[in-house]
Each structure stands twice: as structure tokens, then as C-alpha cells.
Symmetry: C2
Subunit: 201 residues, 2 copies
């Protein structure tokens, strides 16, 4: 177990990697549906050969995951080490809705990308992706701090399910529900679920 130094990438490789991520983001945003964007399109838009895509990201889903993680990074940082109401140290009853609102806003701001990720194919369940597991762990951990709750693992899944990319797309895109309405509805839904209730016998 040497502390292998993970040699830095060559600079053309780094430049191409960025170009590909930028081109992919742009194309997904521009085109209506994610599967209208082919790997050849992305390669061409990035001014790069197809093999460079596959060498750098493995396959299509690898590219989408890498892009998603990159765009998500700021949110992740805000949740893990940021100030309240998102960061740690926030009272659970405030932090839960803040977390869900952050997820929702991210998906609203990156609809095309979130859609590409979640509909990328049933080959790999979206539930096994690192970002989902992070969100689920975090949410569940905060739920644990609230007394009187049970089944927190399931609850965390159910709450996150309300922010699924295709649902967000359906409501914000097809049904034209304004952003602030959606945020308010998710907040109200969460509040209702978490609100205190009469003691059970």
C-alpha cells in the first residue's frame, strides 16, 4: 500500500476534459430531451474526437455523472461545511426543509442535466449513485435528530422522491408552475409531514 501519488493529468487532457464538460452541459441545456444529444454531438461541440470522451469518462453515463457531480459541488460544500440554514448546526426542523429546497432549486436550475442523469437508462439505478446516497444519508441523519419519527430511511427516500427530475420537469416545464409556487408547495408538504401532532394515546 504505497501512498501512490496519483500523477496529475497532462494539460491537454485537462483542457479537453473541461471542454467536454462545458460542451455537454451546453448541449443538454439547448436540446429538448437528453437522448437527442449524442456522444458524437458532444465530441464535435467540444472540438474533440469521440475516443477522448470515452477515454476520459468511461461511457455515456460516466460523463453525465461527472458533469452532474461537478455542477453539484457548490451545493455539496454548502451542505457539509456551510452556514445555516443549510450547513450543519442548524436545528433539524429548519434544516430539513432547507435541504429539500436546495435539492429542488438545484434541479430547477439544472433541469436538463438532472433529467439526463435520472433518465440515463435503467441500467444503473439512480439510487446507487453517490450524490443520491449522500443526500439520503444526510437527510436521514437529520431526521434521526427529531424525536417521535420512525422509518427515517424510508421517509428520506419518499421526501427526495418528491424532487425527482422528471416530476420537476413536468411541473415546472409542462404545467408551467412558477418556481416560487413549487418551492412553497414542497415546503408546505414537508412542514405538514414534520409538524407536531396530538399525542397518540
Amino acid at each position: 500500500m504505497e501512498p501512490v501519488a496519483e500523477r496529475r493529468p497532462r494539460k491537454d487532457a485537462a483542457r479537453n476534459r473541461e471542454a467536454v464538460l462545458a460542451a455537454a452541459d451546453d448541449l443538454f441545456a439547448r436540446c429538448g430531451s437528453p437522448e437527442a444529444v449524442t456522444m458524437a454531438d458532444i465530441a464535435a461541440a467540444a472540438g474533440v474526437g469521440k475516443a477522448t470522451l470515452f477515454r476520459g469518462f468511461g461511457d455515456r453515463t460516466g460523463l453525465i455523472h461527472a458533469l452532474y457531480e461537478a455542477r453539484l459541488e457548490p451545493v455539496r460544500a454548502a451542505i457539509e461545511t456551510g452556514p445555516p440554514p443549510l450547513g450543519p448546526g442548524t436545528p433539524p426542523l429548519q434544516r430539513i426543509p432547507a435541504l429539500l429546497d436546495a435539492v429542488l432549486c438545484f434541479k430547477l436550475d439544472n433541469r436538463h442535466l438532472a433529467l439526463a442523469l435520472e433518465s440515463s437508462g435503467g441500467g444503473d439505478s439512480p439510487y446507487r449513485a453517490p450524490h443520491y446516497e449522500r443526500w439520503h444519508r444526510t437527510l436521514q441523519a437529520v431526521l434521526e435528530q427529531i424525536p417521535g419519527l420512525t422509518d427515517n430511511a424510508f421517509t428520506a427516500h419518499a421526501l427526495l422522491a418528491a424532487t425527482r427530475a422528471d416530476l420537476v420537469e413536468h411541473l415546472a416545464g409542462h404545467e408551467q408552475v412558477p418556481r416560487e409556487h413549487l418551492r412553497a408547495q414542497l415546503a408546505a408538504y414537508t412542514a405538514r409531514l414534520l409538524s407536531p401532532r396530538p399525542q397518540q394515546g
Copy 2:
């Protein structure tokens, strides 16, 4: 606008249609992931030419939708004209959990199929499918009958999202959560959302 009599299909066509549905159901159940089943596979298993598939169902998603609707038919009937607690005439606070339980059980019993449907591709949003709209309409209508609720359209979406096929597959399949646990957790989640709460100021 003549009342065009919708000429009945020829009997070989009818027989082939059934054979295709049966073969598809079987293959989806047998194989791990839906996209491992090709149209050629289904045609071969049904003892039929590929063109027969496409003539009868339009395209791949058409076939999956037709199969899904066919398997769902009994549940639909039970909801629309059956006895309580699923049918009409059930008190709303009992009917909501019954409806969600029915959805969950259907997806548990037809995991492969539900998965094939929902991950069939982002081309057409699952939210525009007839069966989803039926469920959403029904759920929303029942929610409307409960005083003190708001945003029922969103709430119905959020509740249904907790029964998404890939989530069910993740929990029941990958996480090995037993069927009855899952049903109990969904019931508890629903109950918590619907339970009466202290009057707001």
C-alpha cells in the same frame, strides 16, 4: 361523424397480439433489466416476426404501455367500481392509504414491468401516461374531500412519487426490504401526512 363500427381484428392478429403480450411479460420478468430485452427477443419468444410487433403496438414504448395497461386493468376496475376500501364510497381518510397501497402492491407484483415502463426512456414523460394521470386525478379528487388540505395536486404527485418503480425496486430488490415492511412504511408515511394537527393560531 358516423359511429364507425371499429371493425374487429382478424383472429390471427388477435392471437398474435396475446402471444406478444405474454412473451414480453415473461421476458421482462425473467431478465434482470428491461433494456436487456430487445424487440427481436420478444418477437422470437412469441413466435412472430418483428414487423408484427411494430404493426400492433407502434413502437417499443407502445408495447410496454399496452402491456402495463392490460395488467393494470383489474386494479383500475377495483378502484373505479369496486367495494371499499378501494372503491368509491370509502371515507377519504381510509381510501387514500388504500389507493397508495394498491399502487405499491401492483408495482411489487410487477416490478419488472413497472421498471420497464418508467425507465423506457425520457422521450415521453411518465407523467403524461394515461395510467399516471388516472391515478393522480383519483388521488387528488379524494384529497379534495379532506378539509384543511391545500396544494392537493402537488401532494398527489409527491405521494405517488414514493411508489416510483425504481425506488420500489431499490428497496424491495436491492435492499431486500420485505414486502410487508414496505407497505407498513408507506402506510405510516401517508398516515403522518394526513393525520390531524393542532389548529394553526
